[in-house]
């Protein structure tokens, strides 16, 4: 069964450093998302991406964050200057269409630890 993959599984970085989290969505999917989950808390929407542009972003997704689909398969989330509060599990998700009830499939996540 096709699945969303994410690398790395765990990233440790120093405060102020740039990190890039990588995702490979399911191959025929067109809609891409990033969510994050701070330890013990709910999953929160960060950004959605379609047709090579951001379609919606949350208030969490400030100027330090950016997303890119550099080729036909990867979808990346970049945090330019990490803060302690960026420590969280980051999930990539994808779906095929905007059709009603179409499912978002989630990857296994990247645990980001900012020291």
């Amino acid at each position: 069964e096709p699945e969303v993959t994410q690398t790395p599984s765990h990233q440790v970085t120093q405060m102020g450093q740039e990190v890039i989290l990588r995702c490979v969505p399911i191959s025929n999917h067109l809609y891409f998302y990033w969510y994050r989950q701070i330890l013990g808390q709910k999953v929160e929407f960060l950004v959605s991406f379609y047709n090579n542009e951001i379609s919606e972003k949350s208030e969490i997704f400030d100027d330090q964050f950016s997303v890119e689909r550099p080729d036909g398969s990867n979808f990346t989330l970049k945090i330019r200057s990490t803060k302690l509060e960026d420590s969280a599990m980051y999930f990539c998700a994808s779906k095929w269409t905007p059709v009603y009830m179409d499912t978002q499939y989630f990857g296994p996540g990247t645990r980001l630890t900012v020291l």
Binding site: Y33, K42, V43, F45, E56, Y100
Partner: protein, 115 residues
């Protein structure tokens, strides 16, 4: 208005018992209500979903009950098994034309099924 409230925070059920998790929402524009199951170290996986023109949906041991007037929905797990032990998230999204279909998650319920 964008929140989804979920209860209880944690739940302990005996094997063979019924697990019930409740969610409530305010935004009447929500038109898709999925439940996600998350095992430790994994991403959320869709379990079952319902649309608001249906009052109940059953898939195997899992049933969603939906009360549109009360703006509440619940997940019932019949004959709960130790393998059902996981965190369960309710969610909601909007599927109107132009919407990004972002998922708004509840706070999660940690279910432990005791053998």
């Amino acid at each position: 208005q964008q929140q989804v409230k979920q209860s209880p925070q944690s739940l302990i059920v005996q094997k063979g018992g019924i697990s019930i998790i409740n969610c409530a929402y305010e935004n009447t524009a929500f038109d898709y209500f999925p439940w996600y199951q998350q095992f430790p170290g994994k991403g959320p996986a869709l379990l079952i979903a319902i649309r608001p023109d249906v009052s109940e949906k059953k898939e195997g041991r899992f049933t969603i009950s939906f009360n549109k007037s009360a703006k509440q929905f619940s997940l019932h797990i019949m004959d709960s098994q130790p393998g059902d032990s996981a965190t369960y998230f309710c969610a909601a999204s909007i599927h109107r034309s132009g919407a990004t279909n972002k998922l708004i998650f509840g706070t999660g319920t940690l279910l432990a099924v005791q053998p």
